[in-house]
């Protein structure tokens, strides 16, 4: 593992340096653009361990990187692909993945199609959540964009139909309709969470389809949008009996319902940028080979503001509000009492955040971010706080310091 990390770091450091000056090359008389990024974070928390890292001792197990290639074949046709790799505590574990790889045929401004592995458009930032250099914040509001669950919504193997329709006013209406198959990494948050109960996935994923509609001004100005995402999550693997922990048996689970509604808005005025989103996520999952029904109802919203103080310094702040209700029916119901009182720390996470972002160079920044977190919302669905890293139980409040640096080209 260490050799793999060192090799990756070496290739990135020595590969990226010349690319910073030469971001494109020619192949079969076509210009191929090359872009990439690398980011490294450090997280310290005073109480609960966070994001599958041993953060109470300080952890630097927060690295991600990507590299993409794209070229235009004709005026209307574009091809591209991006590779992605990350290590976030126990997640990712340096298993590289094809982030997206697609052919994009744009017939008109109002009609185009992307096919292949396509990033899922959901809310303001789902498809760009990995590119922290685009944002003031080191971590996007975790209630709406949980980094430990990125694989659950990030991309699908299928197609998007998209376009932009000018309205009579000066606004545009942009739409995206998509459908495909989603493949979840077994090194992501949900498989890791339920591994504590002895379940080990060999495969996880399913159908994903939905739509996004947003009304926006062509230049800076207000943007309002709505997204809907329907998913099916089927998993297969093995498990030990959660009660007796005796012997293994084939494990499976599937969705009865799995949907997300997201409403969002953005406004930029001068040096000030304001964003807000509301996400409701309902997951009705038959687990333990159909013996138990686990219903999770997540409601989250945030309000964020970013202000450019100087050319190289930005200040940001957000409040992220996350509540979770949970009901378990069937065989395991006696062991998982229902959770409905969202005022309890075990059923919510309220996160107040303050960030300073320094642009050291045009392509290199450093962020200092303070989180003041109340609650840990521990149930059978992940949200950043995992019992595996907190074997002695959770404390109601956690303060966190996140330092993150990254560069891109």
């Amino acid at each position: 593992m260490r050799r793999q990390i060192l090799l990756t770091a070496f290739l990135l450091l020595h590969g990226i340096r010349p690319l910073l000056h030469a971001q494109e090359f020619k192949l079969f008389d076509r210009v191929v653009q090359v872009h990439g990024w690398l980011s490294q974070g450090f997280v310290y928390t005073d109480e609960n361990n966070w994001l599958t890292m041993n953060t109470s001792s300080g952890s630097g197990a927060m690295t991600d990187m990507g590299l993409n290639f794209s070229t235009r074949i004709t005026d209307h046709l574009r091809l591209g692909a991006q590779f992605y790799d990350r290590n976030l505590g126990q997640l990712g574990q340096w298993h590289p993945s094809l982030d997206w790889a697609l052919a994009d045929y744009r017939l008109h401004s109002w009609l185009g199609i992307r096919a292949g592995k396509v990033k899922t458009v959901l809310g303001l930032f789902n498809d760009t959540q990995d590119q922290d250099f685009l944002y003031t914040f080191a971590l996007l509001p975790q209630g709406v964009y949980p980094t430990d669950l990125r694989e659950a919504t990030i991309a699908h193997l299928g197609a998007d139909i998209y376009g932009r329709i000018p309205l009579k006013s000066s606004a545009n209406l942009a739409y995206t309709v998509f459908a495909g198959h989603r493949h979840d990494s077994i090194h992501s948050g949900y498989p890791y969470l339920i591994s504590q109960y002895g379940a080990v996935f060999k495969s996880l994923g399913g159908l994903q389809y939905g739509a996004d509609l947003r009304c926006q001004m062509p230049a800076k100005g207000p943007l309002l949008g709505i997204s809907r995402l329907n998913e099916d999550t089927s998993g297969k693997g093995t498990a030990t009996d959660p009660i007796t922990t005796d012997g293994t048996f084939p494990y499976s689970e599937y969705s009865r319902a799995n949907w997300t509604n997201q409403f969002y808005g953005e406004y930029v005025i001068g040096r000030l940028r304001l964003d807000s989103e509301y996400r409701r996520y309902l997951r009705d999952q038959m687990i333990y080979s159909g013996t138990t029904e686990n219903i999770t109802d997540v409601r989250a919203w945030y309000v964020s503001g970013g202000y450019t103080l100087t050319r190289n310094l930005r200040l940001g702040s957000y409040y992220s509000h996350y509540t979770l209700r949970n009901e378990v029916k069937g065989a395991l119901a006696p062991y998982f009492p229902g959770k409905t009182d969202t005022s309890l720390p075990t059923n919510h996470i309220y996160d107040k955040v303050l960030t300073l972002c320094f642009d050291l160079k045009k392509f290199w920044n450093v962020k200092l971010e303070a989180h003041f977190i109340n609650g840990y919302a521990f149930v059978s669905y992940p949200d950043g706080f995992y019992p595996q890293e907190n074997p002695n139980g959770f404390k109601p409040n956690t303060n966190a310091l996140v330092v993150r640096t990254g560069f891109y080209f």
Partner: protein, 227 residues
């Protein structure tokens, strides 16, 4: 040359050199194959944000300058965002697979060369840049929600004295369009007053598509003595 004419030319030269109007410091250029002579701000924004891919049936390709006065002026006037914001906008497209970084060149001369040699290309350069091999587009700015389609365009007659002395520039006009599409009123907002007078005479002959109400529009008209 008689005295009044000399005074007029001198005045025009003073005005030209001292006026740093909002639209007068850059001009929008396009490959000659592009049919359009006029472009709205909304169309410009769509093209330069990668949202609009064609203009009057032809594929268009925007070209940016890496930096400099023309670049900053263009972003401020038409896109309403800083160079950094624009880069982040395109990076978001690039890294999510929704688009690619646009063509970017280093100087006005390179923009002109690219636009001249690339079918459907459209760019911006400083007002004083020689624009041989490309066409200059008139930019129409609409106020309110009504954008009127221009049906008949009459080119202004270049004032002879200014042309002989290679005095050019861009003038900015406020135009009121009647519901029937005729130009009801045109007045100079910025630029050389002699060129402005010529522009007003031409614009008063323009004809727009009819609409239910009167529309106020701002247009910029370039005068290039090198053409």
């Amino acid at each position: 040359m008689d005295h009044p004419k000399m005074i007029l030319v001198a005045l025009a030269m003073v005005m030209f050199t001292s006026t740093n109007t909002r639209a007068g410091d850059i001009k929008i250029i396009a490959n000659p194959a592009l049919k359009a002579d006029t472009i709205s701000v909304r169309e410009l924004q769509g093209i330069f944000l990668g949202e609009k891919t064609s203009l009057e049936g032809m594929h268009v390709e925007p070209v940016f300058e890496k930096g400099g006065r023309a670049h900053e002026s263009f972003l401020r006037q038409y896109l309403g965002r800083s160079s950094d914001d624009l880069q982040k906008y395109y990076l978001a497209l690039q890294f999510s697979g929704r688009g690619t970084m646009p063509t970017t060149v280093a100087s006005d001369a390179e923009v002109v060369a690219f636009v001249a040699g690339t079918r459907g290309a459209i760019g911006y350069v400083s007002a004083g840049t020689s624009t041989e091999g490309v066409k200059i587009l008139t930019v129409a700015v609409s106020f309110g929600n009504n954008e009127r389609k221009l049906l008949t365009r009459v080119d202004p007659i270049y004032p002879e004295e200014l042309y002989k002395r290679s005095i050019g520039g861009t003038v900015r006009l406020k135009v009121i369009i009647a519901p029937n599409g005729s130009v009801e009123h045109a007045e100079l907002l910025g630029g050389n007053p002699v060129l402005g007078d010529a522009a007003i005479v031409a614009v008063q002959k323009w004809k727009y598509a009819p609409a239910s109400s009167r529309t106020v529009t701002e247009i910029t008209i370039p005068f290039d003595p090198n053409r």
